[in-house]
Amino acid sequence: MNIPYTVEERPDTGLANGKLGIWLFLASEVMLFGALFSSYILLRVGAPEWPHRQLNIPLGTVNTLILITSSVTMVMAWASLKMGNWGRHRLFLTLTFVLAGIFLVNKYFEYAEHFGKGEGPWHSTFFAIYFTLTGLHALHIVAGMIVMAYFLGPGAGLWKRNPDQFTNRIEYTGLYWHFVDLVWIFLFPVLYLL
């Protein structure tokens, strides 16, 4: 049985089903992170004092640059498929995967440093919301890496059977990945700098 509208656009929406689906999913993700940002604002404006410069700014800056670069490699992985260049697609998708891994390794060192100083989520309201927000974001990075690993491994075979559908899937993966980057773009100044 064929699943309809995986490549061709639905007449009523003008979109392939997967495209509308991923955007609706991202809308729900906006609300998820929005709820946590709202909690952060409430906690911050309600606190008599708020700790400043508690986090490793150079490491946070490096991680920001890494995620931005990974967004570019991700969009290039999709663009390479559109231009019919399978080799470049594999290169850019692998680079994105590796950059995501480096981000997580940096995050591990950052977490280890805080736990080493006894600054776990129990330490203060600031660290509670810091670990909640960055922990949830890190889980999203892991989820993205699992999807990328699938398309680098067993999922890659679809390119031969149905290149248009494979290209669409990489586009949806990219939309998710850019969203993860977008969340970090706001998390970095809010948690590290302000």
Binding site: T13, G14, L15, K19, L20, W23, L24, A27, V30, M31, G34, A35, F37, S38, I41, L42, L43, V45, G46, A47, P48, E49, W50, P51, I57, T61, T64, L65, I68, T69, S71, V72, M74, V75, M76, A79, K82, M83, G84, W122, H123, S124, T125, G174, L175, H178, F179, D181, L182, I185, F186, F188, P189, V190, L193, L194
Partner: protein
């Protein structure tokens, strides 16, 4: 969104321009932070730069600058609910901010 290879090839240039702008804005954000501005100004500047960076990622990398109406509609609804989510809880404590929460032990947790 671009569908033909020639248009995609052209858009690669815009991806690189946005990449450069995002790197530059990240450096500017950190540099401005070193100036130790007053907190309200620092928050405003940092969030304006973050919003600009976010718009570039959404507009160019996520192709939102040329998407279909259904996606704009879904996102418009999301924006409305997001604003409600951010601001309505604040209104509920606007008359007691800093007083009620401090009275029940806000800020650093006691005994830690």
């Amino acid at each position: 969104m671009h569908s033909d290879p020639a248009a995609v090839k052209k858009s690669v240039r815009s991806y690189m321009i946005v990449f450069g702008a995002l790197l530059a804005f990240t450096v500017i954000t950190v540099a401005v932070n070193e100036l130790e501005l007053a907190v309200p100004i620092a928050i405003t500047v940092a969030l304006i730069i973050a919003a600009m960076k976010g718009s570039m990622v959404a507009g160019v990398f996520m192709h939102l600058s040329h998407e279909k109406q259904w996606i704009y509609g879904a996102l418009l609804l999301t924006v409305v609910f997001f604003i409600v989510l951010i601001f309505v809880p604040l209104f509920t404590v606007s008359d007691t901010t800093g007083v009620a929460i401090a009275a029940v032990g806000g800020g650093p947790m006691p005994g830690r």
